[in-house]
């Protein structure tokens, strides 16, 4: 597998504040990496460093094997970058803006018109070519920001919260677009939306307080049949393990337990068995997805209530 981005010991300091510390990342061709983290975790700083807009305090970034600090011009040719705020010129029309972006990325003139049309079609901007950017709505501005990032068919795409301001339909379109683009490039994007990341990413990295706390591949399908229950205060929880369809039970504290069920069993079966075992069942809720649990566990705000 071809490695497109390799980040080694990347740190970034703003005065006395360490925004990013010793970050190591790898991105292969065809891979979609989701960057998660609470506000102020360093996601945007990390992506700005990768986009070459900021210089790192220490560490090294290679894009397609080219050092971004030493040979920035060559490295940036492979990059498509959408910042947090789409970098638009309100006084230009959509077509003029995209043509300007094509020239900034050294796209040959004879290919410019075709590339602009393709980027517009991919982002649902076919009918907006003559519109003034100042008159575009927030969602359309975001689409235009994505269009400028994919215009020159970069090998590495860096998108900082691309779903911001998009309607649900457009979000689904973006998910499809990301999967389509990932066939021949590598993609890193940051988001607050856990389900979005889970739906589209092959790998996820969670940043917290400037450090990568978690970096793992997401399994395509997780046959999770986990439930969270609350029993009566005097219940003998030891009997949970004896129930026929229960594979495992873990105490979460406060009479709460996580139950892993047999794939064939349903919540109704579990409820029936608990009742038959004479345990008082107060609550039965589906367990949250793995990613969600990991996220909250890592940033230390797991609700115990």
């Amino acid at each position: 597998m071809e490695t497109l981005v390799r980040v080694t010991d990347l740190s970034r300091r703003f005065g006395g504040h360490l925004a990013l510390s010793e970050v190591n990342l790898c991105l292969d061709k065809g891979e979609v990496l989701g960057l998660l983290g609470p506000n102020g975790a360093g996601k945007t700083t990390c992506l700005r460093l990768l986009g070459g807009v900021l210089a790192p305090s220490s560490g090294r970034i290679e894009i397609g094997g080219i050092d971004l600090a030493q040979r920035p011009i060559e490295a940036k040719r492979h990059l498509g970058y959408l910042p947090e705020r789409p970098p638009l010129y309100p006084e230009l029309r959509v077509d003029e803006y995209l043509t300007f972006c094509a020239r900034l990325h050294h796209l040959p003139r004879r290919r410019t018109a075709a590339a602009v049309e393709e980027a517009k079609a991919r982002c649902g901007l076919e009918d907006s070519g003559r519109r003034l950017i100042a008159k575009l709505s927030k969602g359309f501005r975001q689409r235009l920001g994505i269009a400028q990032a994919i215009l020159h068919s970069p090998r590495v795409l860096i998108l900082d919260e691309p779903t911001e301001g998009l309607d649900p339909l457009q979000m689904r379109e973006l998910r499809r677009l990301i999967r389509e683009l990932a066939r021949d490039c590598g993609l890193i994007f940051s988001s607050h939306l856990l389900p979005e990341v889970q739906a589209v990413c092959d790998r996820v990295a969670i940043l917290h307080q400037g450090r990568i706390q978690f970096d793992t591949e997401l399994a395509a399908d997780q046959p999770a049949n986990s439930w969270r229950i609350r029993l009566g205060p005097s219940a003998n929880a030891g009997r949970l393990m004896d129930l026929p369809q229960v594979l495992g039970a873990a105490a979460l504290g406060g009479d709460r337990y996580r139950i892993d069920l047999d794939a064939a069993a349903s919540s109704a079966d579990l409820a029936r068995e608990i009742m038959q075992a004479d345990l008082a069942l107060y609550e039965l809720v589906p367990e949250r997805s793995d990613l969600e649990r990991v996220f909250f566990d890592l940033i230390g705000v797991e609700d115990r209530a």
Binding site: R48, V53, E74, R77
Partner: protein
């Protein structure tokens, strides 16, 4: 690449009202002075006239145009860097595979292109007298060149101020401050020893005066080019440092 950036700046500038307002107000002020000079000049007898009409026009009309250019350049420059830092559109250029030198040159050329019509206004006004009286074309050309060179220097100072802050208003104030300093520094000459005319040399109006008198001196050319280059280099340095901050 430089052309693309300059072209976008000109296009972006022309669709905003600012250059048109500056051009319109500039023309009103120049027309006022133009008529005043004509009236004063025609009211004098041949013996009372101390300078030719071209001379009078060059000193008054081009002198005023230089002051207008000095006010216009920072206003036009403010959106080029400062405004882009504020709106976040500079990230587009920051992430693109281009050199900062190309960015600075492109923006500077775009700015000069927007200021150039203002520099041609006094000459256009003088053309009205063509046929009515003899105009010294050489002197008008020299004065226009001097005006254009000083406008270039104002543009470079405006662009540098624009690179200092993400507040366009603050960048205009910084530019006005710098330009004011370069305007009045010549007055400090009387405070220093007579033989040391460094302060006089630093002041742009002393150099422009020679152009207005019709003399294109190498030292004056060097002054304008030197300071234009210096402020462009400072702008480049400033943009390079932004990545580190």
């Amino acid at each position: 690449m430089i052309g693309a950036i300059a072209g976008r700046e000109v296009r972006g500038g022309l669709v905003t009202p600012l250059p048109w307002v500056l051009l319109g107000l500039g023309q009103v002020a120049l027309a006022w002075v133009f008529l005043q000079v004509i009236e004063d000049f025609s009211g004098l007898t041949a013996d009372e006239r101390v300078a030719s009409l071209t001379q009078e026009m060059a000193l008054n009309l081009f002198g005023l145009a230089a002051v207008i250019a000095m006010l216009a350049a920072p206003l036009l420059a403010m959106r080029m860097l400062s405004g882009e830092f504020r709106d976040g559109s500079f990230e587009l250029i920051g992430a693109a595979p281009i050199r900062l030198g190309q960015v600075v040159t492109g923006k500077f050329l775009g700015l000069v292109a927007l200021v150039t019509p203002l520099c041609l206004l006094p000459a256009a006004n003088l053309m009205l007298l063509n046929g009515a009286t003899a105009i010294d074309a050489g002197q008008v050309t020299a004065a226009t060149l001097g005006l254009w060179l000083s406008a270039m220097m104002f543009c470079a100072i405006g662009l540098y101020a624009s690179s200092l802050t993400a507040q366009p208003g603050a960048s205009v104030l910084v530019a006005f401050g710098l330009l004011l300093l370069f305007s009045v520094v010549g007055r400090a000459e009387s405070l220093a020893a007579e033989s040391l005319s460094l302060f006089g040399w630093l002041s742009w109006n002393e150099h422009l005066l020679w152009f207005l008198l019709g003399a294109v001196r190498l030292s004056d050319l060097a002054y304008f080019i030197l300071f234009t280059g210096l402020f462009l280099a400072l702008t480049h340095r400033r943009l390079a440092n932004r990545r580190l901050q």
